[in-house]
Symmetry: C2
Subunit: 402 residues, 2 copies
C-alpha cells in the first residue's frame, strides 16, 4: 500500500432509487478488493436489501454504512447500477465522480448539467462491446446474460405445457418450440437456457454472422433469405431500410405461428428497439403461446402490445410479457456480475486515488461522459447539442422537465 | 361398432368449479377416442377455457358443447378433474356415474349422500400406484409429475441467482444447491428438472429404497443415518414414530442451511402431509433462499409458515411458496396427461355402454367409491362410519357443513 494521501479515494455505494430495482452496484464480497483504492468504502443504509444483503453483511466485509446525505458528502466516487435521480446528480461537486449505467443519451439536459457542475460522469453502458480487454467491464453484457436466462424461466412459468419432451405412463408430451429473436448476449443465453430445459430452439438474427453462434448452441437458425446480413460491428445490427423492415415483419409473421414461445431480445444502442412482431403476428400465435419482450420499455419494444413491466393476455389467450428489466429480478446474480464490471473499470480508470482521464483510451472514450466542465463523450455531446439548439429548453427555467 | 343401444353411453366433460383451477378432464385431442364409448361426448360451455381450448376446438373434435344443466341432465358419465361442487353431486341420479379425483376421505358425508342417491362415484386418486397395468390411469402420478416440474420453474423464478454454473467475462457464478424432500413422482421430476437447469441437486426420502432412484437421476442422497427406512409399499412411507419424527426434524434443520432452494414434496395418502421443516429450520436458511412446498394445503404442509397458494417472505428474506396445486398452473400438460388417465380407466371399467363393476378387480377396488346404493370402497366406508358415529352430524339438517 502507498501512503495515505495517494490512496485516499472514498468510494460510496448508492442505494438504487428506481422502482422495482433490486440490484446493488457492489456486493459485500467485492468490498474488500475496492478497499485497495482507498481505506473507506461507504454504503448507503439499505443499499443491498433488495438483493438480500444486510447492512451487517457490508460492515462484516469492511464497509462503513452511512446515511444517504453522509455518503453524498463524503464519497469521491459514487457507484450505482442505474442512473441516480436527478436530485442526487444535481447536488454533486466538481471533485466527485459518478459511475453507473447512466444512459446519457436518454437525458441530454441532465448530462449538460453534470458537465456544468464539473462532475466526472462515467457510464458503464458505453464500454466498447467487442474490445477483448474491456469485456470484464461490460455491464450491458453481464446484465443481458441475466435477462436472457430469466426470460426462459419467465416464459416457462407462464407457459401451459412442459418445455422438455417427457415420456411418462400417461403418454408423451412433445417439447416446446421456442423462437429467440436477436442473438446477442441475451438471445444466446436464452437459447442456451431453453436448450438446457429441453425445448426445441430456433434463433433469428439479422446479422448473418450470428448464425454460427446460434448453431453452436444446438439451435436451429431461422433464415429469412431476402433479408441481407445487417451486421454493423460492435455486436449490433445496422438500421434496416424501410423495405427490409417491411419484409422482415411480414416474413416473421408468416413463421411465428409454429412456435409456442417467442423471446425477443433485439436492441439498438441508444435508440428505439426495432419492432419485430406486429399485432397480426401475435394474432397468429396459438392460444396459450407466450411472448417475452426483453426490449419492452418506455421507448417501445420488439413486440406490439408489450408494455413495460406488465403482462397482457390477448382475447385469443396469447400472453405477452413486457420484461425490460429482468436483471432486477435476479438481483444477486446481476449484482455480483455488475460488481466485477464496475470494479474492473475503476481499477482501469483510477490511479493513486484519482481518475486519470485519457480520452485516447478506447475504453475511456466510450465511458467518460462529462469531465472538467465539458461533455467529452461524442454521442452524448451531439445529443446535448441537438436538444439545446432544437428545443431551446432551459431546464432551470422550466419547472421539472425530467 | 356394435349396435346403437349397446354403445349408447353419453360422456359429459364438466367445467371445473374450484377457484384458480385451469385444467379440464378431457382435451379436444382425446374426444375422438372417447366417442368409441358412445356417439355423444358433451362438453360444458367454457370447460377448456382455462387450458386455452375453446368451445370451437371441442366442436371440431366431434363433441357437443352444451350448458351445465343440459350436461347434468343428459350425461351418463360425468368427468371432472377435481371434485365437482356438492350442489352438482347431490343432483346426480342413480343411473349416473361421476369420475374424477374426488378425494373421498376429505368429505365422508358427501360420499354417504352419493351412496344414498345410488350414484356410482369413481375416484382416480384411488388407482393402485404400484400396479403396472394401472399406471396409465394413475392421475396422482401424472399430476405429481407436472407439479415436480413446475416447482423448479417457480423456485427459479423466485430465486435471486442463477440455477446453473455460468462462466462469463464477469466471472463465474456458482450453481444453486437444491434439496428435494420426498422422492416420489413429484420429487423425482423436480430432481430431473433441477438437474436439467444445471443446479446441484440433493434428494431425501425416508424410504431407503428411493435412494437408488435419486442417484440414477444424477443427484446426491441426503442420508440421515439414524432414521430407519420407512417404506410402506405403494410408493408411500409409513407414519414415523414420534421419536423418528423428532430426530428427522432436528437432522433436517441441521442440514438445510447449506441449500439455496428446498422443494418439499412429501405426501401421505388420505392424511395430513408430514411436517419436515419447522420454523427454526427456515430461520437457518440464508436470506434469498427459496422454499417451495408442494404439500401446502388446507390440511397443513411439509413446511411451517407455508400457506396454501400463497407466498410468504420472512423477515430474513427467505421466500416460502405454498404450491399445493401447481398442476392447475400448467393446465395443458396436466389436462393432456389426465385425459389419458381418465380415458384408460373408462375403457377399463365400461363395457357395452355401462359400468361393469367388479370389486375383485384390484383397480376397481381402489377407485369405485359408491355403487348400487352403498359405499363400497373400504377406506371411504370406514371414514363415513367414523364421521357418522362420532359426530352424528346429519348433513341435511345442519345447513351447509360442507
Amino acid at each position: 500500500m502507498a501512503e495515505a494521501p495517494v490512496q485516499a479515494l472514498t468510494v460510496g455505494i448508492l442505494k438504487e432509487t428506481a422502482s422495482e430495482e433490486r440490484r446493488v452496484a457492489v456486493v459485500p464480497a467485492a468490498v474488500e478488493s475496492l478497499r485497495e483504492l482507498g481505506p473507506a468504502v461507504l454504503v448507503e443504509t439499505g443499499a443491498g436489501a433488495g438483493a438480500h444483503y444486510s447492512d451487517d453483511d457490508y460492515v462484516s466485509a469492511g464497509a462503513e454504512v452511512v446515511s444517504a446525505s453522509e455518503l453524498h458528502e463524503r464519497a469521491d466516487v459514487l457507484l450505482s447500477v442505474t442512473r441516480p435521480s436527478s436530485e442526487i446528480l444535481r447536488r454533486l461537486r466538481s471533485d466527485q465522480t459518478v459511475v453507473g449505467m447512466l444512459q446519457p443519451l436518454n437525458d441530454p439536459l441532465l448530462i449538460r448539467d453534470l458537465a456544468d457542475l464539473g462532475v466526472t460522469a462515467v457510464s458503464l453502458d458505453g464500454v466498447p462491446r467487442t474490445l477483448s480487454r474491456a469485456q470484464p467491464m461490460d455491464a450491458l453484457s453481464s446484465q443481458a446474460n441475466v435477462a436472457g436466462y430469466k426470460a426462459v424461466i419467465v416464459a416457462a412459468a407462464a407457459y401451459d405445457r412442459y418445455l422438455p419432451l417427457l415420456m411418462t405412463a400417461a403418454g408423451v408430451a412433445r417439447p416446446a418450440e421456442i423462437l429467440v429473436l436477436g442473438a446477442g448476449v441475451a438471445g444466446l443465453q436464452a437459447i442456451a437456457t431453453a436448450n438446457r430445459l429441453g425445448a426445441v430452439v430456433t434463433g433469428y438474427d439479422v446479422r448473418h454472422e450470428a448464425r454460427e453462434e446460434i448453431r453452436s448452441l444446438g439451435a436451429e437458425v431461422l433464415e429469412l433469405p431476402e433479408v441481407e446480413s445487417a451486421g454493423a460491428g460492435g455486436g449490433y445490427a445496422r438500421a434496416l431500410t424501410d423495405a427490409e423492415r417491411r419484409f422482415q415483419l411480414g416474413a416473421l409473421s408468416d413463421q411465428v405461428h409454429r412456435f409456442d414461445i417467442v423471446i425477443a431480445t433485439a436492441q439498438v444502442p441508444g435508440g428505439r428497439p426495432p419492432l419485430l412482431l406486429e399485432e397480426d403476428a401475435i394474432a397468429r400465435l396459438r392460444p396459450g403461446a407466450v411472448v417475452v419482450d426483453l426490449a419492452a420499455g418506455p421507448y417501445g419494444g420488439n413486440v406490439a402490445l408489450s408494455r413495460s413491466d406488465d403482462t397482457v393476455v390477448t382475447d385469443r389467450g396469447v400472453t405477452v410479457i413486457g420484461a425490460g428489466n429482468l436483471p432486477a429480478t435476479v438481483p444477486r446474480a446481476a449484482s455480483e456480475a455488475y460488481s466485477r464490471n464496475v470494479r474492473t473499470l475503476l481499477f482501469h480508470m483510477f490511479s493513486e486515488g484519482r481518475p486519470v482521464i485519457d480520452l485516447d483510451d478506447e475504453i475511456q472514450a466510450g465511458v467518460v461522459i462529462t469531465h472538467g466542465g465539458r461533455v467529452v463523450h461524442h454521442a452524448a455531446a451531439a445529443a446535448v447539442e441537438a436538444v439545446t439548439t432544437a428545443g431551446g429548453v432551459e431546464p432551470h427555467e422550466s419547472g421539472t422537465p425530467y
